[in-house]
Symmetry: D2
Subunit: 322 residues, 4 copies
């Protein structure tokens, strides 16, 4: 019986998880491992929802959003007894390696699992927030950005038809990446994020100047969820700038959608890197993409550090916060 | 000098306004009228933003959302002195007919204008709410529905990945048309609208039954804005049904987007009907589409009656409110 | 055991088949029939690929293009012995009624089946060509039109960037419906179809006039497959009009895509009508949509007549052929 | 009078040109240069279609495909006398720098212009073929790939509904980049490009094995335009593999479409780099993106070398050619 590898999606869902699952399963099989799929995230490990990855199960999933393996947040996995159950479920099938596609919480959980039972894993960073340390890119971000773009391009139709301001809140509890890139990509006038200090007085003066002197007759403002400024800024544009303003909270529309080409290709490359790292004997490595190349980092460097925003994006965005 | 016809978009913007403008201008020119474009809605009439509709101005607009003529809500138009100014602006250019694309508020305003100065108009109903009496269809509805569909299809990816309930609030202050059709088109389990009485107890029982007996592990609920039930239902699903629930308010994303084929073709047919009604001497007729055919109604029948919801849609939707 | 109804998709695939399958299965179950799904079209009847329609099989299919039941062209079904095998497969499961979603060829095949074994069917017209007699609409047409629209809107970007002519061939072997509606919806300058006589000389003169006098610097021409004029017109624009021209044959891109809202709702209404017609004892009725209402026709009226093109579309399109 | 910089789009149009124009104009203005727009590519320089880049001209273009500045192939620019005319047109406006967004042919033309008149330029590589030496990325590629993806995802609906093979020809006369990435991103079974030697015998054996043993019932094959194998492979699948096959030539659909977020952001970064290189006194530098970072290369390194395909893509694609 060939050695088994179990593939799990865990944490918040992100576009690109499905192509990563498909590619990891196929690449593992081609290189002598027997791939298994875990349904329902870490809970699925405990509940023994582990199925051999035959061709039909990974066929026709490449272009679908979310994760067909489903995900979950598992409280039980924090308890040793449940983890031991999970271990027995893997052991009885000859599974000796794990590949997890998810966020840093999931990586930590599997590191604990490794400490308990010595079963190594490889991690593929996937979260639309793009806030995992050590990698320039997390799976799902490009798709989320393009979903946001389509929404904003649609709102712009109304904004330009009606001389209105639209405030659009995008996801990102601690990280303004989606907000910054969306603001640039949509030509927004205002962008508020946790990372860049903003000054409403100067923003207001800039807007009024453009309205009075340059014929500006609509405003797009992008606000990161984490600033909690959506409502406030909307009222402020109404009251201080004097342009009728509306708030749209994009919500979970941002999470879905068929993965873009970029996310599908990144899924392939991340998966190949992850399977190869496991085959080569790496333990608990997190795959990272930095400066245009793939590599891996020990879990501590990923989970104990804070993500740093791309300085070139910050630099381009700064004028929108001033 | 040939007789002039001025084309105006007024009220909330809707997809399909641009193809209607283009077609009306071209069709009018072909039939001996000289077409003019009014920028900025009724305000534009007062402020004399009236431009000859040459080929370049109506070229390349067919596929764009919103209205390139821009719209507005005009308080000034309620005053006789401003209306007279508008009349002078039209008269000096030899404009003797108006074509307005908008909602019933705009029709009423132009009817007052007719009472004052005897200038006839034709109206094309355009509003994404689909709540104008006498017509089965208002321009913009199909595009709005497809924008909503894409958003819900995206949210569904997340819902099915994660065992969650999503409550989605769609536009419609007095009318549940968008909510009902979207609920059917997205296979939602729950739909709450102003028109159909709903019973949360029986809905809850139905959901629990499916969760316990049929493996249901996600819920999509569509709520019309006018019910003001978005927040309440979201908490209620959380607390009473016991499934983690999130609310998404789709907002102005619904208004924009490139017009669908249906809206482009309806725009053509409505425009042709409107120009022909003016040429044939009809005064103040509102174009309507009923039972698959175009016709027109006197303004009183449109503005003094309440829209009636398509009973076949109500019938299909009823089980989602029970 | 309750009476069974088997649902089949047959002939060329069309968007809307999946929502029709889902709705028919659910509506039949609600009204006391036991729904079955036939996989692989008429061949599936013969090969006994008939499965009970449980909730999971019709879940998550509403938004998918094509047909999850798959389709086929079956030569075997022309032979009595194979049809008898099909009959036995139905009989042993207690299936007494058939619902077929497809084109007139499929309707004829099932009518033969009825003549042989007395098993009644109801038909839902589904084909992107919109060329079935007696109904104004066939399932799948709206989605195909919107797929074409998106392709043409994309090509237009290049056409306007580069002073070029683009000839676009759309599907329709005997019927110019897709070509005509697409030409209107995309603001094309030229449209060639089997139905409307066209005159290249006058078209050429019209184009040259616009190029020389009105600044026209690109041309969009839509050609129906059935005219076989794609290549010829492309060369003709190059040589006679003197504008660099390119041909794009849209091909099977037109067939796919997530069903639009219109197709989903029509699928619902067609399915309800079909199930109700079977329950009420109608035999071999074809559901039709005419003048905004649903009804049904005896199969002879559908299969022995030629489809007539919507005259209002022909009228709007005629100037593009002159 | 501040120094002028003229912005030109030249060669085949590509998505991302519009955001590059907008950003370059705004960034130049902010840094003390006076931006001008050249309409109609190099021909526009000769014909004096040079306009001051005021806010309205670069507003509302960010999300539009193609190039609003329009492009052209200019034979006249090969002649010194026309180039001198172009130079006079620039000189009389105080324009001393050029920024060109296009391919290597355009870079060569402007290098000749520099040799003649000493006017320096900066180049931004833009072509959907991604075949310019020295840069990992050319503007427009991501949008083209996603347009292709949507078309293939649509065709897949039909392929899986009907047990068919689809051969899809994508652009790329000398370069298989679009074909390779599209094949990976769509999970194609077969990929033929100019770069990777392919073996139809072994491909045929692989397909037959999967059809007979693994239930494969459809095939997607992606073929690069440059191989000229589209027709041949389609017939070969029909005849040798025995599965009904259809060819779709995607054509100019690939060129258009609203720029993706990736192309918009790359447009920003390329533009900033280009304006900065001109300000810093660089002459005739081509902006390049390599290993995740921006830089620039002398024109000779770009125009005298052949593009090298990303080896990680080649490696992932090789199994599809065997």
């Amino acid at each position: 019986m060939s050695e088994g590898i179990a593939i799990i999606t865990s944490g918040g869902d992100a576009a690109g998880m499905n192509p990563a699952v498909k590619c990891a399963a196929e690449y593992a099989a081609k290189h002598g491992l027997k791939p298994w799929l875990v349904y329902g995230g870490l809970n699925g490990l405990i509940q023994d929802k582990i199925v051999e990855a035959d061709r039909l199960l990974v066929s026709g999933i490449l272009h679908r959003g979310g994760t067909v393996l489903r995900s979950s947040r598992s409280k039980e996995f924090f308890e040793y007894s449940f983890r031991e159950q999970a271990y027995q479920n893997l052991k009885k099938r000859g599974i000796t390696k794990l590949l997890v596609i998810g966020g840093d919480g999931s990586f930590r959980a599997l590191h604990q699992f490794y400490t308990d039972f010595g079963m190594p894993f490889a991690g593929i960073p996937a979260t639309i927030d793009n806030d995992i340390a050590g990698t320039d890119y997390c799976l799902g971000v490009d798709t989320a950005l393009n979903m946001i773009r389509e929404s904003i391009d649609s709102i712009r139709d109304t904004a330009t038809s009606f001389s209105r301001a639209f405030v659009i809140e995008v996801m990102g509890r601690h990280c303004g990446y989606l907000a910054m890139v969306s603001a640039l990509a949509s030509g927004a006038e205002i962008c508020l994020t946790p990372e860049i200090p903003y000054n409403l007085d100067s923003i207001g003066a800039r807007m009024k100047h453009q309205i009075e002197n340059e014929g500006r007759d609509f405003i797009l403002a992008i606000v990161a969820e984490g600033t909690k400024m959506g409502d406030y800024v909307t009222r402020w544009i109404n009251d201080s700038i004097g342009m009728e303003a509306r708030l749209t909270v994009l919500g979970h529309v941002q999470r879905g959608g068929s993965p873009t080409v970029y996310d599908r290709i990144m899924a392939y490359k991340f998966s190949v890197a992850a399977v190869e790292s496991l085959i080569s004997g790496q333990e608990n490595a997190i795959m990272v993409y930095r400066k245009g190349a793939f590599g891996h980092l020990p879990i501590s460097e990923v989970c104990d550090n804070k993500y740093e925003m791309d300085p070139s994006i910050v630099r381009l965005c700064k004028p929108l916060s001033e």
